[in-house]
C-alpha cells in the first residue's frame, strides 16, 4: 500500500499542506521547525489503529479550536481486503499524480481511497472515508484502521523489547498463554521464596500480631509475611528480552537497542505495509544507517534487477538530519520541507536536474542539510572560499561557514552551475552564485537574481584568477608564483607565462620584482600570471592542496586591499554569509 496524497489543515505547526507524495521511498529533509516530524505525526494519527488518542487545544494550529483539524490521507495499491465492497470498495476515487482528484476510479485513473481524520472544538476525533458522491462519509473504527498496514518504527523502543500488551514482541508471539503461564510460575516462585526464607524481623512482628489478636479473642495459627495475590505481582510488561548473562537488552547501547526494537516491530509487518521512521539516523553510525535502509527497502520497493518485483508493494517515509541517507539514496527520494507562515510546502528535485544533483548529493551531502549554499562556478572559487573560511572565522569571533549553516559547492562550470543554483533556490535554500564574469553564463545574472539568488561576479569581465592577480599586493603575487613554481616546476611556469605574454620572458629569475625590473610592466605581468593560473594544462587552483594554499595567501592579504574590487565583492559575500 502506498500513500499517494496528503493534505493537512490546522494541525500543530501546519496551517495547510497539500502534497502529492509520488514515490515509494521518501526522505524528508528540512531545517528545524520545518514541520517534518509533524507530517509524520499527522499520518500516524490518521492511520494508526488506536482507540484512545487524546487531543488537546495545543494540537490545533495556533491553538485555535474554531478551525478544525483535518488530516486527509489518500492511499493507493490497496490490498484485496480493503478493496472489498463492505470496506472501502464503494468509496474508491480516481487519482493521477499532480492532478485534481476524479471522484470516481474511471479507466486510466488509479483507484485510491481517502481517509480523513477530523477533530473539532469538542476534541472528539472522527475517522471517515471521504467521497464527494456520498453524502454521509463512512465512519471507521480502530479495527478498520488496523487494515491500513501502517507502522511507526523506532519509537517507544523499550516497550517493544518487553512482552507488555500490544508491544511488537507480544504481537509476534504465537501463543500468548505461554507468557501467562510463565508469569503464574514466577509469582508462585516468588511467594515460595518468601515463605521459605527466615523472616527474622518480620517474623517477630507477626508473632506480636498473633498474641495481640489472641487477647482480643481471635485465635490465629502461626503467622508470617507473604506476597498478597491481590497486589500487583508481575505483569506481562515485566517480561523482557535478556541475553545469556541475564543482562536485559534494553541495557545495550542506544543504536543497538533502537535497531533491535525496530527489527522486532518490522518482523510482524507484511511487505505491503507503510513504514514511518522519524530521524532514521538516530543513534546509528553511517554503515548501520545504510544497512537499515537496505533492509527496509528489500521486498517492499521495486527492484529493477529482479523480475519478480517490478512494482512497489509498500512505502517508507522517513525524516533525517544526517548526510548518510542523502549519500546512499537516490536524489529522487529526497523531499524538501519548508514552512512559511504556517503553509508547509514539500518539493522534490525536478526531473531535469536529477542527473546534475545526484553527484552533488554524493560529494556534498551536507549541503542538502545546510541553510545557505554558495554555488561556486568551479574549483577555484571553492578553494578560495576554504581559505577565506579560516580568515572570517577569526574575524567573526569563531563563527565559521559551518556555524552559519553555509556550504560552498562546486557547480561544475558556467553552463551547469547556474541551473544547479536555480534548482537549489527552488528547493528553498538561500543561494549565492559565485562566478567569473569573463564569459557569459548559461543563465544570466539578472535572471538568477529575479529568482532570489544572490549573484556575485567579479567586476571587470575577468575570471577569478585574473581578478585576484590584478588586485592582490605584489608580495602576495610573489607568493603565488613561488607556490606555483614549487608545485609545477619553474620550467612549466615559464612556459605558461611565455604563452600568455606572447613573447619570451626576460632571462632572469622568476621573481616579480626582477621581472618588472627587466622591463615587464606590472599590469601586463599581473594579467599574464592571472591567465596562466587559469589556463588549461596548468590550472594552479584546481588541486585541493594548492588551491587551499593559494586561498590562504589571498586571505592573509585581503585586509591590505580594502578598496579593491576583489575585496569589495568578497565583503558583500561575507555580509551574506553572516546575515541572520
Amino acid at each position: 500500500m502506498l500513500i499517494r496524497h496528503i493534505s493537512i489543515d490546522n494541525f500543530r505547526g501546519i496551517k495547510s499542506l497539500d502534497w502529492h507524495v509520488d514515490g515509494w521511498l521518501i526522505c524528508l529533509i528540512g531545517p528545524g521547525d520545518s514541520t517534518k516530524t509533524t507530517i509524520l505525526d499527522a499520518i500516524e494519527l490518521a492511520l494508526l489503529p488506536r482507540w484512545n488518542i487524546p487531543f488537546s487545544d495545543a494540537d490545533f494550529y495556533k491553538a485555535d479550536t474554531t478551525s478544525p483539524i483535518r488530516i486527509q490521507v489518500t492511499l493507493g495499491h490497496l490490498t484485496d481486503d480493503l478493496l472489498s465492497e463492505d470496506r472501502c470498495g464503494l468509496f474508491l476515487r480516481g487519482y493521477k499524480p499532480f492532478k485534481p482528484f476524479n471522484d470516481d476510479p474511471d479507466d486510466g485513473w488509479e483507484p485510491v481511497v481517502t481517509l480523513r481524520l477530523r477533530v473539532g472544538d469538542d476534541l472528539e476525533p472522527h475517522w471517515e472515508l471521504v467521497k464527494d458522491a456520498v453524502n454521509e462519509a463512512k465512519q471507521l473504527s480502530w479495527r478498520d484502521r488496523e487494515r491500513f498496514c501502517m507502522a511507526r518504527l523506532g519509537n517507544d523502543v523499550e516497550r517493544h523489547l518487553t512482552w507488555s500488551r500490544g508491544s511488537a514482541l507480544a504481537r509476534i508471539t504465537e501463543n500468548a498463554s505461554d507468557a501467562n503461564s510463565m508469569l503464574a510460575l514466577v509469582n508462585r516462585a516468588a511467594n515460595e521464596a518468601i515463605f521459605s526464607t527466615s523472616q527474622k524481623e518480620l517474623a517477630s512482628a507477626a508473632y506480636r500480631a498473633k498474641t495481640a489478636a489472641k487477647r482480643f479473642g481471635v485465635q490465629l495459627p502461626d503467622l508470617s509475611a507473604g506476597l498478597d495475590t491481590r497486589s500487583q505481582g508481575f505483569g506481562t510488561g515485566a517480561l523482557s528480552l535478556h541475553d545469556s548473562s541475564r543482562v536485559p537488552v534494553r541495557a545495550t547501547g542506544l543504536g543497538s537497542r533502537r535497531l533491535t526494537g525496530l527489527a522486532i516491530q518490522h518482523e510482524g509487518l507484511g511487505a505491503d505495509s507503510i513504514l514511518l521512521i522519524d530521524e532514521i539516523e538516530h543513534g546509528l553510525e553511517p554503515h548501520r544507517i545504510r544497512r537499515l535502509i537496505k533492509r527496509l527497502c528489500e521486498d517492499r520497493l521495486p527492484d529493477a534487477k529482479s523480475k519478480e518485483q517490478p512494482v512497489a508493494k509498500g512505502q517508507v517515509i522517513t525524516t533525517t538530519h544526517s548526510p548518510t541517507p542523502i549519500m546512499s539514496l537516490d536524489v529522487k527520494s529526497l523531499r524538501f520541507v519548508r514552512s512559511k507562515n504556517g503553509v508547509t510546502s514539500v518539493t522534490h528535485v525536478h526531473g531535469s536536474q536529477v542527473e546534475a544533483l545526484q553527484p552533488i548529493a554524493r560529494t556534498y551531502s551536507h549541503a542538502f542539510l545546510a541553510r545557505k549554499i554558495v554555488v561556486c562556478e568551479g574549483k577555484t572559487e571553492e578553494a578560495m572560499l576554504r581559505g577565506l573560511d579560516d580568515l572570517w572565522e577569526k574575524l567573526h569571533d569563531g563563527s565559521s561557514f559551518a556555524t552559519c549553516g553555509v556550504v560552498p559547492i562546486n557547480g561544475g562550470g558556467r553552463s551547469s552551475g547556474p541551473p544547479i543554483a536555480i534548482e537549489f533556490r527552488r528547493l528553498g535554500y538561500d543561494v549565492t552564485f559565485l562566478g567569473d564574469s569573463d564569459e557569459p553564463l548559461s543563465v544570466s545574472a539578472s535572471e538568477m537574481e529575479n529568482l532570489g539568488i544572490t549573484v556575485s561576479l567579479w567586476p571587470g569581465n575577468m575570471a577569478t584568477e585574473e581578478r585576484v592577480c590584478t588586485d592582490i599586493p605584489l608580495i602576495a603575487l610573489q607568493q603565488f608564483l613561488t607556490i606555483a613554481t614549487e608545485r609545477f616546476t619553474e620550467a612549466t611556469v615559464r612556459e605558461s607565462l611565455k604563452k600568455q605574454l606572447g613573447t619570451a620572458l626576460p632571462k632572469c629569475e622568476l621573481q616579480i620584482d626582477t621581472l618588472i625590473a627587466n622591463g615587464l610592466s606590472e599590469e601586463v605581468l599581473r594579467r599574464a600570471i592571472g591567465k596562466a593560473a587559469k589556463s588549461k594544462g596548468g590550472e594552479w587552483f584546481k588541486d585541493i592542496t594548492t588551491g587551499e594554499l593559494l586561498g590562504g595567501v589571498i586571505a592573509a592579504h585581503l585586509a591590505e586591499i580594502p578598496s579593491s574590487p576583489l575585496a569589495k565583492t568578497l565583503s558583500v559575500l561575507e555580509g551574506w554569509v553572516y546575515a541572520e
Binding site: 478493496l83 474508491l92 470516481d104 467521497k131
Partner: protein, 500 residues
C-alpha cells in the same frame, strides 16, 4: 450431503439448472452456495425472494460471511449511485422507466477495471435466481459479471410471467441458452410430497403437456373440477367456499386480473381477502385524495374509501356525505349512524387528519355484518394516518409510500385465505389453490403458475373442460423442441460436468 445437481452447479462456470415449480429450487440454490468456494453473490428479483433465499441459507447453517443476497436492481443501484460520475446516475429512488436507465448506467460502472477489482475482491462467484424474469438490461449486467467470475443460474421458462408484461424488454429464453449451459432439470415435486403426491405428479405431466402444446383435460386427475354455470360468479363463490381446509391451512383463490379479485372478495364476505401489491398504488392514491380534500369533501372521500374496502357498506351512510354537502340536515335515529354523523362533522370541521381515524372506526363498527373485503388496504390506511401524526411535515402520500417501502424489505404477511393474481403469488406456496378462471389464462405460463400454487388440493373453475393452449413462448418463438435433451426437457438429465 449436497445433491449432485448442487455440486455440479457450484462447480460450473456458466451453468443453468431448470427448476419447475415446487421442485426445491431455493433449497438447491442454498446448497450450491454452501458448497462453493469463497463468498458468493446471490441475485434475485424481489425482496420476498431475498428473504426466501436467506431463510434457506440460515436453515442450512451456511455462515453469513459466505454470501451476500440482493436484488439485481438493488446491486445496480448500489454501484450506479456509488460512482455517479461514471454511471451518470443521479436519481435517488427510481420510478417506472428509471429502472431501465439504471441498469444501463450500472453496466457502465461494472465494466470499469477498478470496479471489477472491487467485485473480485468481494465475491468469488455469482448465483442468479428466477432467471426467466430478467429484463434485457439485467441480463447484460449479469453477462458482464460473467466475464470476471463464474455465474450460475436457476430458472424456469414456463414461469416467465413477468416477461409477458413487457415483451420488448424481457430476456428471451433462447438468449439465456446461448450463454448458459443446462446442467440439470429438477424433477422431484417436493412441494407435494407427504401432502398430495398424485397432484405433484399430475402437475409434472401438465408441464409436459403445456410444453408440447397438448390438450389438458380438466375432468381427469387428482383435481376438483367445477365447470362454470350460467351464473359464473356464483360458481366461483361456490368453489371458494367449497375448499375443505383444516384449521391453520392456507388457501389462495386465483384470478387473472386484480380488479376481479377485489370484486370477488366483497362477495366472499371477507372469507377470502384480496392481496394488495407491494406498492399498493391504491393506498397512495387514496392517501393523496383524502389529504388534499378538506371540509365535507374530505369526509366524502373517506366514505368512498370505506365503500371500496368494505362489503355491504350501507348506502344510507354514504348519503350522509352528499346531504351534508348540500346543506341538508341529517338526523339519524340509529345510535351507530349518529356516531358516524358526529365523526363526519369532526372531519368536516377539523383540518387535522387524525380525526379521519375516528370516522374510520365509527364506520367499521356499524351494526351491519360488515366485512372488510380489502382488509390490508384498510389497515394500511389507518397505519399511514397514525404514522403521519408523528411526522406531519411529510405528506400523507409520502408516509404511505415509506410504509410500503419498509414492508417491501421486511415482508408482510399474507392472509390465510387470500385472492390474488399469478403475478402477486408467484413463488408463494399455499395448502389449497382455487383457480377461478382457467379458461381466462391465455398463456401457458400464466396457467402453469396458477395451477402450481397449492400443495394439498387444486380446485379449478373453467368455462372449458379441455384446455387447449398455445405452446409457451420459449418453445414457440425459438424452436427449442422438447425432443432435444440439451435444451429444455423433462426427466432430470444431468449434463456431464466436463461440458462446462
Amino acid at each position: 450431503m449436497p445433491s449432485k445437481e448442487a455440486l455440479a452447479l457450484a462447480a460450473s462456470r456458466r451453468g443453468l439448472v431448470i427448476a419447475p415449480a415446487g421442485c426445491g429450487k431455493t433449497y438447491l440454490l442454498a446448497e450450491a452456495v454452501s458448497c462453493s468456494q469463497g463468498r458468493q453473490l446471490v441475485l434475485t428479483h424481489t425482496h420476498a425472494g431475498v428473504r426466501a433465499i436467506r431463510g434457506h441459507l440460515e436453515q442450512q447453517g451456511v455462515p453469513s460471511a459466505k454470501y451476500g443476497v440482493i436484488t439485481i436492481d438493488g446491486l445496480a443501484l448500489r454501484y450506479a449511485s456509488s460512482f455517479p460520475t461514471i454511471s451518470g446516475w443521479t436519481t435517488v429512488i427510481p420510478n417506472g422507466d428509471d429502472w431501465k436507465n439504471l441498469r444501463v448506467a450500472s453496466l457502465r460502472v461494472i465494466q470499469r477495471s477498478a470496479i471489477r477489482q472491487v467485485l473480485l475482491a468481494t465475491y468469488s462467484g455469482v448465483f442468479v435466481d428466477e432467471y426467466q424474469d430478467c429484463s434485457l438490461g439485467q441480463h447484460q449486467l449479469i453477462l458482464s459479471l460473467a466475464e470476471i467470475m463464474p455465474v450460475r443460474i436457476v430458472g424456469d421458462p414456463l414461469q416467465a410471467i413477468f416477461a409477458l408484461l413487457d415483451q420488448n424488454d424481457c430476456c428471451k429464453w433462447h438468449e439465456v441458452q446461448t450463454h448458459f449451459t443446462t446442467i440439470a432439470e429438477l424433477s422431484t415435486p417436493h412441494r407435494w410430497s407427504n401432502r398430495n403426491e398424485a397432484l405433484g405428479e399430475w402437475l409434472l405431466d401438465l408441464r409436459r403437456r403445456l410444453i408440447a402444446g397438448e390438450d389438458i383435460d380438466l375432468r381427469q386427475g387428482p383435481i376438483e373440477f367445477h365447470p362454470t354455470t350460467a351464473q359464473k360468479e356464483q360458481g366461483r363463490l361456490k368453489a371458494c367456499f367449497g375448499v375443505k381446509a383444516k384449521k391453520g391451512e392456507t388457501q389462495i383463490g386465483l384470478r387473472k386480473w386484480r380488479n376481479e379479485c377485489h370484486r370477488l372478495a366483497r362477495n366472499l364476505k371477507g372469507r377470502y381477502r384480496a392481496m394488495e401489491t407491494v406498492e399498493c398504488d391504491d393506498l397512495l392514491e387514496w392517501s393523496h385524495q383524502i389529504e388534499s380534500a378538506s371540509g365535507i369533501e374530505r369526509a366524502k372521500q373517506v366514505l368512498a374509501f370505506a365503500e371500496l374496502c368494505i362489503a355491504g357498506f350501507p348506502s344510507a351512510v354514504k348519503e350522509f356525505g352528499n346531504r351534508l354537502a348540500q346543506g341538508v340536515q341529517v338526523k339519524p335515529k340509529r345510535l351507530d349512524y349518529q356516531r358516524v354523523l358526529r365523526a363526519i362533522e369532526v372531519v368536516r370541521d377539523t383540518s387535522s387528519l387524525s380525526c379521519v381515524l375516528g370516522l374510520m372506526d365509527a364506520l367499521i363498527e356499524l351494526d351491519h355484518r360488515l366485512v372488510k373485503a380489502r382488509d390490508e388496504l384498510w389497515r394500511e390506511m389507518k397505519r399511514t394516518i397514525r404514522e403521519h401524526r408523528l411526522n406531519p411535515a411529510v405528506s400523507l402520500r409520502q408516509t404511505a409510500w415509506n410504509i410500503r417501502n419498509r414492508l417491501r424489505h421486511i415482508g408482510g404477511r399474507v392472509d390465510r385465505a387470500a385472492l390474488g393474481t399469478p403475478l402477486l403469488v408467484k413463488g408463494l406456496e399455499f395448502d389449497h389453490a382455487v383457480v377461478l378462471d382457467a379458461a381466462d389464462h391465455g398463456e401457458a405460463e400464466s396457467l402453469y403458475v396458477a395451477m402450481t400454487r397449492g400443495s394439498r388440493t387444486l380446485t379449478i373453475v373453467s368455462d372449458e373442460p379441455v384446455l387447449v393452449r398455445p405452446k409457451p413462448h420459449f418453445v414457440l418463438h425459438y424452436g427449442a423442441s422438447n425432443s432435444s435433451g440439451e435444451a429444455v426437457g423433462l426427466g432430470g438429465q444431468v449434463g456431464r460436468t466436463e461440458d462446462f
